[in-house]
């Protein structure tokens, strides 16, 4: 842990002085970070919320800092679509009449794509700035002029208090690795879901491979993702997530591995789950 933080701080410490960083590291690691965070009664990690709020300016630039999320839509939108509708009759608005909750919607990259398929989307995010950005951007695309997503600046646990058994689907794409108290997070998501509704989660796995590729290479070497976006300790393995889901009355239907090809810039499903994975589960009752 210590050495890992240290190496990170050295890599990150191009601007800050090394000593400052070291002090920060030691204070952080002197407290049992993961444990205290998991015990909190809020899912919000303020430092992550702040970090992503800073990306606001270029959030919607397709080849900006959020480029990976934009291209990821090409994989996760069909994933959600095929998880919800399974007919041979192809419709122009396959997700019509489906109520979808996009948890941690950020600037609305996924919310808008789902709205384009006819779904009535509600996006929630802990960042006020990003919700403001999303609310502004939903007026840009004429294709969703009649079906704009609703955005609310709140946490999932607060939102779940007001709506129970409401949504046909809850999507938490690349969010669970940024929250504190993952059990509460999943529980709240499921609370908002109708019985028979589906929950879709995509997140990095917690392996040495994901530490190397998702954090070290993508953040520090190739700058695919903003620096400091991920903390290894907060990653969750498919087994842990499946366990949480099944403990909360869900049945896990699918677990896919996800790979990214940086040359063709394309995402793809695979059987290799060590880097990143997607889970689809159905709420039983």
């Amino acid at each position: 842990m210590w050495s890992y933080k240290l190496s990170r701080s050295v890599l990150n410490g191009t601007r800050n002085s090394g000593i400052k960083k070291l002090v920060w590291c030691s204070t952080q690691s002197s407290a049992p970070v993961a444990d205290t965070k998991r015990l909190t009664h809020s899912t919000i990690d303020t430092s992550d919320v702040e970090l992503f709020s800073k990306q606001m300016k270029d959030w919607w630039t397709p080849d900006g800092p959020m480029a990976l999320l934009h291209t990821f839509n090409l994989l996760r939108v069909p994933f959600v679509r095929d998880g919800l509708v399974n007919t041979s009759q192809r419709d122009l608005y396959p997700l019509k009449d489906k109520k979808i909750l996009d948890v941690g919607c950020g600037g609305g990259i996924l919310s808008e794509s789902l709205a384009r398929l006819g779904a009535s989307v509600t996006g929630i995010d802990a960042s006020k700035d990003l919700i403001a950005l999303a609310q502004e951007h939903r007026n840009v695309d004429p294709k969703i002029a009649n079906n704009k997503p609703d955005y609310i600046n709140c946490t999932i646990e607060d939102h779940a208090k007001s709506v129970a058994n409401h949504y046909d689907a809850v999507v938490a794409s690349e969010v669970i690795e940024h929250v504190n108290n993952q059990e509460l997070f999943v529980k709240s998501c499921i609370h908002a879901l109708k019985p028979g509704g589906r929950i879709f989660i995509t997140t990095p796995n917690r392996t040495k491979m994901s530490q190397f590729f998702v954090i070290f290479l993508s953040e520090n070497v190739f700058n695919f993702i903003p620096k400091g976006a991920h903390q290894y300790e907060k990653f969750i393995t498919p087994n842990e997530l499946t366990f949480i889901l099944e403990r909360n009355d869900c049945h896990v239907e699918l677990t896919y591995g996800i790979l990214y090809n940086p040359v063709s810039r394309k995402w793809d499903f695979s059987t290799y789950q060590h880097l990143q994975y997607a889970i689809q589960a159905v709420k039983l009752s």
């Binding site: 397709p62 090409l74 939108v77 069909p78 122009l92 396959p94 794509s113 384009r116 294709k143």
Partner: protein, 476 residues
């Protein structure tokens, strides 16, 4: 502010001037007006298809019939007038050979029914042989689960069948403009944020669209506007076409092709008494052939089909040795050669020639623009593949576009367009390459080359897996 004031003042002044002159010199002023006529905006479309040939019309038809694409506003721009096609007893001299893949596409679009209602000739057997060594390869429908090898359909009949279906598809989102003379294209630069192309017509009409499809043939103006690299060369050859009367009536379901040192000559069956000719030969020879009196042309034709060309004895020895070897192990030795029909006459006025060239566009797409058919690729007619490749483009493009729309993507999203380009180039380029190699291999009369190609052809004819490979590549 000040500048604007001055501008509006000047404008008003100018208008006054024009008005006064128009009152004084009515006729000349009117003339002046029409020549300086302002571009009239005629509408914004989702898709504009430039070129209403076989491939362009099929695309319009496929889009109108696809449940995911039928609500796209499509405009088809066709340069020629709306034709009144009447089926005549005489065959047209331009024909296409359609493969099974094209048949499947046309059946799915309900076009094949119209073709069958008019006329087509199935090819059940195909024989290709080398004039320099008499080695041959044959493809028969027995090799491919008793399915026809190809279908011979006249170009104008095919176009009519497609148009008939397109017009009967009651889709108010499909618009067709005939006599469309396109003046210029203005293509978008940026990749994202909904690009828009502007199409300016010679008569001042302008249209805008999100997705522009270049289906405007080998001299594609859309491709030129895209500014992509286009690899092309002329074969210095022309394809002489004609409708031939056969000396004897027969079932005539065989396509014949003989490789002469000048290029391939092919007889494609039309009905029991007639065949269509495609004779690829050097330009000066082609021009001579066009000018020959009818009887001499028929003689030249029969010569080309029957004449014994000088053989190299070593090639002869090697091929006969190989064929006896093949016979010993029980494989097809290529001795069971069928004899081509002899030609008795040419339908009056059916002789014509068209230039042959190779063309390959290195990119099929640009932001908001895609090329299909001959605009993207052009091949020698020796394998009868040109239009089939174009129909393959149509099939893949509609499938990928529908998939993109089903995923909620824009119709100009680079993701599906890049997929379209790579899928098609992966099929088209190897096919083009093979055809090019065949052409080069067979226009040489150098002994070692003749020997190599003769032995190769014999082996290919004897080995069923190789034959199946060739046929499957040609059928998709």
């Amino acid at each position: 502010m000040l500048v604007n004031n001055v501008k509006s003042l000047l404008n008003r002044q100018l208008r006054c001037c024009i008005q006064t002159t128009s009152v004084r010199l009515l006729c000349t002023a009117e003339g002046g007006y029409t020549s300086q006529v302002k571009d009239t905006f005629r509408g914004n479309y989702d898709v504009i298809i430039a070129g209403g040939g076989m491939v362009g019309c099929t695309l319009a038809c496929a889009m109108a019939k696809n449940s995911l694409l039928s609500n796209l506003k499509v405009l088809l721009l066709e340069a020629s007038p709306k034709s009144d096609y009447q089926l005549k007893s005489e065959y047209s001299n331009r024909v296409v050979a359609l493969n099974q893949n094209t048949k499947a596409l046309m059946t799915s679009l309900n076009i094949w029914k119209h073709v069958e209602d008019m006329r087509l000739q199935p090819v059940r057997y195909m024989q290709v042989w080398d004039a320099s060594s008499d080695v041959m390869i044959s493809f028969s429908s027995a090799d491919m689960m008793d399915d026809d090898v190809a279908y011979i359909v006249e170009n104008d009949l095919m176009l009519h069948a497609i148009n008939k279906e397109l017009l009967s598809t009651d889709n108010e989102n499909t618009h067709i403009v005939y006599n469309a003379k396109i003046d210029s294209y203005q293509l978008p630069k940026e990749k994202y944020s909904s690009p828009q192309s502007i199409v300016k017509m010679a008569n001042g009409d302008t249209y805008t669209c999100q997705l522009l499809i270049g289906a405007d043939g080998a001299n594609s103006a859309v491709r030129k506007a895209m500014g992509v690299q286009y690899l092309t060369w002329s074969y210095e050859q022309m394809g002489v076409v004609a409708t031939l009367n056969l000396a004897e009536e027969c079932t005539n379901t065989t396509a014949w092709q003989r490789w002469l040192p000048t290029g391939p000559i092919a007889l494609l069956p039309l009905d029991s008494k007639r065949s269509s000719l495609v004779w690829s030969t050097w330009q000066d020879n082609a021009k001579q052939l066009l000018q020959l009196p009818e009887d001499q042309f028929v003689d030249a034709l029969n010569d080309a089909l029957w004449k014994q060309y000088p053989r190299s004895s070593s090639v002869e020895t090697c091929t006969s040795w190989l064929s006896s070897c093949l016979k010993q192990v029980g494989m097809a030795d290529g001795a069971a050669r069928q004899l081509p029909p002899s030609v008795s006459g040419v339908a009056a006025g059916s002789r014509a020639a068209f230039p042959l060239a190779f063309g390959h566009s290195t990119r099929y797409i640009a932001p908001g623009v895609a090329l299909i058919g001959d605009a993207a690729h052009r091949v020698h007619p020796l394998a009868g593949q040109g239009v089939n490749l174009g129909f393959g483009d149509v099939k893949d493009l509609t499938e990928l576009l529908a998939e993109a729309v089903y995923s909620g993507l824009d119709i100009t999203h680079p993701n599906w367009m890049e997929k379209y380009e790579s899928v098609r180039q992966r099929h088209n380029v190897p096919t083009q390459f093979m055809i090019e190699m065949l052409h080069r291999l067979y226009t040489v009369d150098f002994m070692p080359v003749v020997l190599a190609r003769s032995l190769g052809l014999q082996i290919a004819n004897a080995l069923q897996p190789i034959k199946k490979l060739i046929m499957s590549q040609a059928a998709t």
